[in-house]
Each structure stands twice: as C-alpha cells, then as structure tokens.
C-alpha cells in the first residue's frame, strides 16, 4: 500500500539505492501507521477488559466473534467512507450520503413490495430491488455532481439541498411509514454468510479491490490527486477534471446506495427518517481518521477503511464497558479535533517550538 503516499512528490526526488531508508523508518513514515495503531490499541484495550473479546468461534459453518461483528456492522459506514474519501480528494464534500442511504433503502423496500404484489416470485424481486435502489442512488449522485461541477455551487451547499430534500423524498416514496420487508432472500445481503463470513464483507471487499485496481493500476489515482492538489494546474495539464469529479460524486452516492441495501436488509425494514442519521458526519470522521487531507489531494482508501473500523470498534467498546452510549459523541468529537490539530501545520509548528524550548531549558 505504499502507493498511497503522495506520488506527486516522490518522482521528483529519486533516491540512490544506498540511501534508501531502513525498514523501521519506512514503517514509521507509513501513512497508515497511526490509524492502524489506534485500531490495534482499541482492540487490545477491549481484550484487557474482556479476555474473550478477540475470540473467534466456528459454529454451524459460520465464523462468530466480536471481530466479525465489528467488521459486519462497520461495512455500510466503510462503503460510504470510500466514496467520501474520493469526493474529498478532489476538494469536494458530500453531506447528502445519509439521505441517499435512506432513499435507497426505501426504494428497495418499495420495489420488493410492488413486485411481490405484482406476482413475481423467486429471486426477481431481489434483483429488481438492488437494481432500482442503486440506479436511484446513482441518479442522486449525478444530481449532486451536476450542481457542483456544471453549475459551480460550493459542494457543501449543493449536497445540502439533497440532504434536506432527500429525506422528504424518501418519506414520500414510503408514504411516511417505516416499510417492513417480508421477503426472505433480501435478508441475505445484510445477514447472510458466504464461506463462513458475513456477505456484507464480500460486498465491501469487492468495492475496495475494484477501486484500488482502478486507482492504482491506471492513471486515475494520479489524476484524482492532481485535481485535489491544484485543480487549475490539473486542468491545464489536460486532465478532464470535471468529468472525473462528476463521476466521483456519482460513485459516492452509489456507495451510499449500497450501504442502504445492506442496512435495510439487516433490519428488514426501511426507515426514511432515521436510516443513516448522522452518517455523513461519521463518514467524514472516518476519512479524517484514515489520514486523508480534508482539504483534498492526499487520500488513502485503506486509511478510511481503518477509520470506519475504529469508529465501529469505539461504539462496540462503549456499549461493552457499560458507559452510556451518548459518551460516544463526545469521544468522536475529541478524536476528530485531535486528528485535525495533528494535521494542521500551524499546530505542528507550535508544538515543535514548545518541545525545543523545553529541551533547551533542560
């Protein structure tokens, strides 16, 4: 994953072979070190508190355990974080993901009910629901993308429109009701197991690997970073910045749509009002925790994945140790502030002068 370091800088300073930094230095400088360390510490802390925490069991052909549970629950957030990472990487933002998740969940539930009422049996309603939900989600992304890229609105405002209106639209589709899904095959998406592991993990893995291949094996990743670092320069260099940004908005909503399928399948219902509530904030937090720059350019998909896992582990931990779950909000707030301060050059400079002053005194 060393490709994840900003490649715009690397080619400019080819190092002679002898001056290559050792394993330890490279490890210390690895962008994923801190998020990974945080996750490991969280898990170890849990294990200290509850010795059986890390245990995995094989029962009825399925893998069970807290780790599997955390990964399964984190899957929807992780999917959205991947989309959010790329949008933020091109200096954008999408705060409508929660609303899109609600729309996708409602559309899926609505389609299933309609197709069942229409007499289609077998797996037809399943595929119908998936296709309809993802198509509508992608359409939402196109809407966001057009407003930002073609009309030229600020991303936060362009997506605010869908964030406000989106839940209204979802309630319109569901007629203000929480739609319950009475259709067994649909439950497989969010609750099913494949090769002993939750199916949602395969969805997440497929999206992640697909993205990695697309971004690292083609020039797309370089283009995305270039747009994020300097949109004007990227445009002058002949990168089709607008088309790329537009498609990233579509992908972000698409990933929120996928998450909507997983969430609605998991609870066998679609709640237009509460599904994906505050998801946009968690996704932004995951991106920040993963070490991507919120100002664009530098991004790390693996980091965002770790960020989503950290957030879910935190939630599980807080429930496990019996602290009121509301503390979660406070902890998240302090976490994101700490991460932001560590990313801020001004803060680093200040911390450095403080350190050197103390050393000088000693």
């Amino acid at each position: 994953m060393s490709e994840e370091q900003a490649p715009l800088v690397q080619p400019a300073q080819p190092r002679p072979q002898s001056a290559r930094p050792g394993l330890r230095e490279r490890l210390m400088a690895h962008p994923l070190l801190w998020p990974a360390l945080a996750l490991v510490l969280l898990l170890l802390g849990n294990a200290l508190f509850n010795p059986g925490f890390l245990a995995l069991q094989w029962r009825d052909g399925h893998l069970y355990g807290n780790l599997v549970d955390i990964a399964n629950r984190a899957a929807p957030l992780a999917l959205v974080s991947l989309g959010m990472t790329l949008v933020i990487a091109v200096r954008g933002l999408d705060i409508s993901v929660g609303a899109v998740l609600a729309i996708s969940a409602t559309v899926a539930a609505w389609t299933i009910a309609r197709m069942q009422a229409g007499g289609s049996g077998g797996l037809a309603p399943l595929f119908g629901a998936i296709a309809a939900a993802l198509a509508v989600a992608a359409l939402c992304g196109l809407w966001n993308g057009v407003l930002v890229v073609r009309v030229g609105m600020q991303p936060i405002i362009a997506t605010l429109i869908l964030m406000v209106a989106g839940r209204g639209v979802a309630q319109l589709i569901g007629d203000g009701q929480i739609l319950t899904i009475y259709y067994a095959p649909y439950a497989f998406l969010g609750n099913g197991f494949l090769f002993g592991l939750p199916f949602s993990l395969f969805v997440l893995a497929a999206v992640f690997v697909g993205l990695k291949l697309l971004l690292d094996r083609t020039a797309l990743g370089l283009f995305v970073r270039a747009i994020g670092h300097n949109p004007a320069a990227a445009h002058v260099a002949g990168i089709r910045a607008r088309a790329i940004a537009l498609s990233l908005y579509v992908f972000c909503s698409f990933s929120a749509g996928l998450a909507g399928l997983l969430v609605s399948s998991n609870v066998a219902s679609a709640d237009a009002n509460n599904a994906g509530q505050l998801l946009e904030l968690d996704a932004i937090l995951a991106v920040a925790l993963g070490g991507s720059a919120l100002s664009g350019g530098r991004f790390s998909l693996g980091g965002s994945l770790l960020g989503a896992l950290i957030i879910q582990t935190l939630t599980t931990t807080i429930y496990a140790i019996g602290v009121p779950p509301q503390v979660n909000l406070v902890v998240k707030a302090l976490l994101v502030t700490a991460v932001l301060l560590l990313q801020s050059p001004q803060f680093r400079a200040k911390a450095r002068t403080l350190f050197s002053r103390r050393e000088a005194r000693a």
Binding site: I156, V164, V331, A333, T337
Partner: protein, 340 residues
C-alpha cells in the same frame, strides 16, 4: 441589468438592485408576498395578523440562530454546531433550574456565557490552526450533543413559576393580536444584528473578510480577532435561542433542535446572503426565516399535504436561490469586466 447600464440616470434603485445581495433580498420579499397572497386566496382566515405574528412566535429560536449564522456565513464560514448548542443550553438550563434549584435569572447568564465561550473556542481552532470551519463545527456539534446527553438523557420539564409566567406572557399589539416575549427578544436580536452588521467597525470587517480575508489583512483590519468574535457571536445566539426554546417548549431535551443548523443555513441562503461570503443582509435572514415558517403554515392550513412536503419545498427553494446566486455572480463578473 442592461437597462441600467444604458441609462445610468434611470434611478438609484435600479442601480442598487444590480448588487447581487439586494436583488436576492428583493426576490425573497416578493416570494414572501406572493406566498402570503396565494395563502389568502386559497385558505380562509389566512390573512389575519395573528397568523403572521405566529410565524415570529413559532420561529423565534430559528430567527435568533439565523442572525448568528448570517455573520458566520458573511465571513465565508459555516457553523454546524448551532442545533446542538441549542439542545445543550435547554438541557443545562432545565437541569440547573429543576434539579439544582437555581433561579432562571441566575442560570440564564451562565448558559449564555457557556454558549459564547464554546463558540469562541471553535473560532480559535478555526483561526489559529487554519482548520476548516465545517469540520471544527461538526466536532462541536458532536461535543455539544454528547454533553447534552451527559447532563440528562431524558427530557426535563420546567415548572418553575418564573419560567411558566414568562412563557405564557403575551404582549398585546391591538386588534386581538399579540406577540410572545420570545418573539420580542428575537426581533431585538435582529435589530441588534442589523446595526452590528451595517454601522460598526466589526460589521465592516466581517464583510471585508468575506470579500477577501487576505485583502482585509493587508488593509490592517483585525481579521483574526474578528473571526473568533464571529464564532463567539454565533455561539451566543445559539445559547440565547436555546433559552428562548425553553420558554417555547418548557422543557430541556438533548434531542431538541435536531437539524436546526440546516434550517438556519437555508434561511440565510434564501435571505440572499452569498455562501461564498462578503455579501448579504441580516434583514434578509429575517425574511428567509419567515418564508420557511410560511411554508409550514401553508401546509398546516391545507391539511391534506403531509409534513414531508415541507422538507421537499425547502430543498426546492434552496436550489432555486442557489441557482439565482450563481446566475447573479456570473452576471456580476461579466458586467464588472465591462466596466473595467
């Protein structure tokens, strides 16, 4: 626009309307009048004074928050923490009054101070460490909401005699119409906001920062101090809105004011303030809030429309006004080039 260019003497009003902010404000006013007229034609009893005064009574807290938000957006920033600060204030106030035996008049200054301090803290993070306003205030939102639930998870009813008395006081305006104390406070905040933005050094610096922070700094304006003050002001307004909210609901609850930040931003945008900063009016936000309130009133009067149409209507209005702003911005650039 071209008329005004060809006939420079066509009048001060036409020329002034070319300013994007004023034109946007005029559109908001026209929309408000048109919606009121439509309501008057469609529904019986819509055009009574009390219906419009109720707009102020029911949206007093939103109005106060929107005034603070206007200043933040004028500098080119954003404050997502306002709804959470409102919730925290209601819970803390209710807890102090009901569980710790404080008199409301003693508790109110304290919660206002906390709200202001909280805003100032976010301002320091934004200004000193050059962090993005939306992330810092997002963290602030989590923090305030979480702190509110730490004070009390459950809703706390306020039964203190003083609180109940103020809440039920109505100031008669003649003809059977009346306003609540909260609505008067909100109107006072609007008036103070108009003065602060229009005729003080602080206000001018706010507009200058929104136009270009770098130019403002080069002009020797106190950019850093003003930025912190703007977020402190927004924190103060949120806390005051929280106090007003306790008079409206007579309770403190950590889930009060959910999504209030979105309504406030929508009101400011519909009121004609440019999201990029530098242009807009506090008075515009008053009409933005009134338009939002009118949508809700129309839906209530209709009776057959479901509540979710409110959200969709606000979304459509937001879109329309953002598109209008883009058009005006482009037109402004084009004509600016012509003048140069």
């Amino acid at each position: 626009m071209s008329i005004a260019m060809r006939a420079p003497g066509a009048g001060n009003l036409l020329r002034r309307l070319r300013e994007p902010g004023l034109l946007s404000l005029a559109v908001t006013l026209a929309l408000f009048v048109a919606m009121s007229a439509a309501g008057g034609i469609l529904y019986e009893g819509f055009l009574s004074p009390q219906v419009f005064l109720n707009l102020l009574i029911d949206n007093a807290f939103l109005l106060i928050v929107a005034v603070g938000m206007t200043f933040v957006i004028l500098t080119g920033g954003i404050d997502l923490s306002v709804g959470a600060v409102v919730a925290f204030t209601t819970v803390l106030l209710a807890s102090l009054v009901e569980k710790h035996g404080w008199h409301p008049l003693a508790a109110i200054p304290l919660v206002l101070l906390i709200g202001t301090g909280f805003g100032a803290l976010m301002g320091v993070l934004i200004e000193r460490y050059r962090l993005q306003p939306f992330v810092v205030t997002l963290a602030g939102m989590f923090l305030a909401r979480g702190a509110a639930t730490l004070v009390s998870v459950d809703s706390i009813g306020i039964n203190h005699a003083f609180h109940v008395a103020v809440a039920s006081t109505r100031v008669p305006l003649g003809g059977g119409a009346s306003l609540s104390v909260a609505a008067l406070v909100a109107l006072a905040v609007v008036a103070a906001g108009v003065v602060l933005a229009g005729s003080t050094r602080f206000g001018r610096t706010v507009y200058a920062i929104g136009g270009s922070a770098q130019s403002a700094e080069l002009m020797g304006l106190p950019v850093d101090a003003t930025l912190i003050k703007v977020y402190a002001l927004s924190g103060f307004c949120s806390a005051l809105a929280g106090v007003v909210y306790t008079f409206y609901m007579l309770s403190g609850y950590s889930l009060h004011g959910m999504g209030l930040e979105l309504d406030a931003i929508a009101a400011v945008v519909i009121g004609g303030t440019l999201l990029a900063g530098g242009s807009g009016y506090v008075l515009g936000s008053l009409f933005g809030v009134l338009v939002l309130g009118l949508i809700q009133t129309l839906i209530v009067f209709d009776g057959t429309l479901s509540s979710w149409w409110t959200r969709i209507a606000i979304g459509v209005l937001l879109l329309a006004f953002c598109l209008l702003q883009r058009l005006l911005a482009r037109g402004g650039q084009a004509s600016g080039g012509g003048h140069g």
